[in-house]
Symmetry: C2
């Protein structure tokens, strides 16, 4: 019973009910104010919500969701709106539940390395809260100074340090959620070992389709004694890729291992001027080593040797916080910097087995030539998570469609070599039509079972993740809802 046809709603009683829960200040309905909310970081998709609500508590969210259920109105949760797959894109005639007033740190338990936060808390605040005591929160998306933990949970966000420490799902111990029907549930707990089905794991990355997280218990880690960032400068992508493989094969697990190509390097230097990146390099690797002083010192030497052996022209190492931050600042600004190279850019997010790096980069170059768009490559090389940036001008008629086709070809390439169509940005509105390339009808069907038991009216973030005939045409038709006995009962 997913919402598929255009509906007309009588908004008056709905708004009145919302105002009764939140007061007039908590309900935004003026057209000009709603514009802010018509897209997230994926700006090529836009849809104005009918109304925006700004709750402050779990109970308020539960009440709001119950009102949505009563009137069968779709609702979408939104944190800071920095997502890159359109996961927080409103649907037509929908309610946008924005968590940006829910920014309390609810509990800090350093002894047990846990912190409990509301969903609107900004990612970098978590580390700021605990860093004085020598702890940090590992997942660090490039948008970490603005993105929210709630959004990170929804999209299972990654970051440059996820190679060694894992993505968001590896750091969420427990969740309080409001289900799509307005019930309050506790998933997981305060210790990682919880019996029964791992619903915390299912919820993380479910992109708002299984409910809204209202309290999040995160694992925090002890800061390393020493951190060093190496910059290795290569004249070929193959040499950089071989170094990545060799570093991992040597048993070194860097905190992060990132590759940037020549286009990205120059874009970053033009915009943020780190003055650290060699503009004539074909590719650079940024390798962060963390651990004990002695360990970092030794691994630094080993990484440098591996890069040199593979033909690096130069390897420099920075241990002082200022230079380290500068090196990362460039990497983290890479997407924004691409915006200066052309009027528009489209960020893709795919994963490949590390061993296929060189082949896939050659194929991406071939796509660039074939379609006539420059493609900058910035990626989490250690875990094979690519972020090709396709540069284009949206003012040219038909350009967006063509660029989306290139993006699609890149995803199909990732699937072909045994990878994935999303590493950390989620599927959202953007990639749902590619889910059928990655999963069989039966596999997708089994995910739908879970969606439907939690989200029986289909009101929680409809039109996301899963392909539908309306939006994806034939790709979605392959998914028959009658295949399994368990589903016929719906």
């Amino acid at each position: 019973m997913l919402i598929q046809e255009k509906k007309q709603y009588n908004w008056k009683p709905i708004i009145k009910a919302f105002e009764a829960i939140l007061g007039k200040n908590g309900v935004v309905q003026r057209r000009e104010e709603l514009i802010t909310y018509e897209c997230d970081g994926l700006t090529s998709y836009r849809q104005r919500p009918a109304v925006v609500v700004l709750p402050r508590t779990t109970e308020q969210i539960a009440e709001l969701v119950k009102v949505c259920n009563k009137y069968s109105v779709p609702f979408i949760a939104r944190g800071s709106g920095t997502g890159l797959s359109g996961g927080a894109l409103p649907s037509e005639n929908s309610v946008l539940i924005v968590t940006s007033l829910m920014r309390q740190i609810l509990n800090v338990d350093l002894d047990n390395q846990r912190i409990v936060v509301q969903p609107g808390v900004i990612n970098s605040w978590v580390t700021q809260t605990v860093s004085g005591a020598g702890f940090y929160y590992a997942p660090d998306p490039s948008s970490q100074i603005i993105c929210s933990i709630g959004g990170n949970v929804a999209e299972n966000s990654g970051g440059v340090h996820c190679l060694k420490y894992g993505v968001t799902t590896n750091h969420v111990l427990g969740l309080k959620i409001v289900t799509p029907t307005g019930e309050i549930l506790d998933l997981g707990g305060q210790v990682p070992e919880m019996p029964g089905y791992d619903l915390t794991g299912v919820f993380v990355g479910s992109e708002g389709t299984l409910g809204i997280a209202t309290e999040i218990t995160l694992r925090i880690l002890k800061s390393a004694e020493s951190i060093c960032v190496l910059l290795a400068d290569f004249t070929s992508v193959e040499a950089a890729g071989a170094s990545v493989s060799d570093i991992i094969s040597a048993g070194i697990i860097p905190g992060g291992m990132e590759m940037m190509d020549n286009i990205s390097i120059n874009a970053v230097e033009d915009v943020v001027a780190t003055n650290c990146y060699p503009r004539d390099a074909t590719a650079i690797l940024l390798v962060e080593i963390d651990g004990l002083d002695v360990e970092v010192e030794l691994n630094k030497q080993r990484v440098a040797e591996i890069c040199k052996k593979n033909g690096a022209r130069n390897v420099t190492a920075a241990s002082d916080p200022e230079t380290r931050l500068k090196l990362w600042k460039g990497r983290k600004a890479a997407f924004a910097a691409a915006g200066h190279l052309s009027p528009d850019y489209y960020v893709q997010d795919g994963v490949i087995p590390r061993t296929k790096l060189t082949y896939v980069l050659q194929e991406i170059e071939a796509l660039s030539q074939k379609f006539g768009y420059q493609i900058a490559n910035v990626f989490h090389a250690g875990d094979g998570n690519l972020h090709p940036l396709i540069l284009f001008d949206n003012a040219v008629p038909g350009a967006l469609e063509k660029v989306e086709e290139v993006g699609g070809e890149i995803l199909k390439l990732c699937v072909k070599v045994g990878g994935s169509i999303s590493g950390e940005h989620g599927i959202g509105a953007d990639k749902k039509c590619y889910m059928s390339d990655m999963f069989s009808p039966a596999d997708l069907e089994s995910m739908q079972w879970i969606r439907q038991v939690f989200n029986p009216q289909g009101l929680a973030n409809p039109d996301k993740i899963f392909p539908t005939p309306r939006t994806c045409g034939e790709a979605a038709n392959a998914i028959s809802m009658k295949k399994f006995p368990g589903v016929e009962q719906f």
Copy 2:
């Protein structure tokens, strides 16, 4: 529609159908042969299956399950039968699907650090297969030389090295499963970053209630350059507990950190004679440090200093493989050794926040006094995973019931301090009545939703994990199946 009442089946056509799939040799039905299968490692629960089948392929399992569905016969998967919570305990009039003929290593991909195995493959074979190339598989239950990977997946097994490296779920990348209705699905994939709902995570630890894993893709890790095991000898449990906290607080993450009390120490020395454990110690800590040589050398010193500071009488370190194995052999034999202290023993498995260690051990001692049973304590101290061994004589009428009561009190204690009723052994048949102490009716209900969509007839391992009125009385009555709109449709 879970199976709740006693049913009579006409086994003739069922057996005939099984024989058509497997041949006569693949179907075991002689009473005396079936005795082997009437319990797993939890020997206090016994139930003979009606028939045992021995498939060799995914397709055969799918066919067998379809036959079970056709005749509405419950079926239970079993690997090596070493589980300690009765997860592989047959139900009355059930089919036991035993995977011990499915022992092929299907694929080894060292470059991408993956291995694909059949479910009957023995845990320690995985490491044996890849160790020559410098890799290993991290989860290592004490039963690793006999337990199967399929069983590990079902129970989300742990082991002494899970403190640093995580339990089974952290090492399973993908699964081929046969669903409870006989469909073949692929969950997860070859890279960790898979979009959509994390069904792999839900399946791992679902104890056979969501289907049977038939191919398992595991992550393998690079072996550490150096490994050292420290043995610290304490005259009080508090001092050992304080050392555990201080080691973690210092930012050291040992490969494993185990505590054994005086009773366990002596039981182990009586039986396996490591000649390493001090018989007069109140508690010992075994701390394994792994990593680079320099790192291990430094952390060894730091751990020793912390233990000494907390009053350790003696700290010894072993880096040579022989002594290291001897130290671990004692720990891994602790359960079996307890069997020599008294006619019977009951192993409990609970988790507590590390900071509550001293308090909880005092309370366990009080329970021991109150009920008059000796309790030996052996546990994964680093992650707060307790394994109290309650020593008793099952020949004494009523003893088992009393011991189960003690075990239940320990679980309630774990929940009270914010922990969990299972760290690594699963819920199975043994602990389902305690699920209501840990989860609210709504939380349990949401797990049931998932069970019911995958397992609509309730045939896959019924009577496990979830409390039912028939077996748990009032505890289960709290769970109403009508609470949520999504469930009324079943």
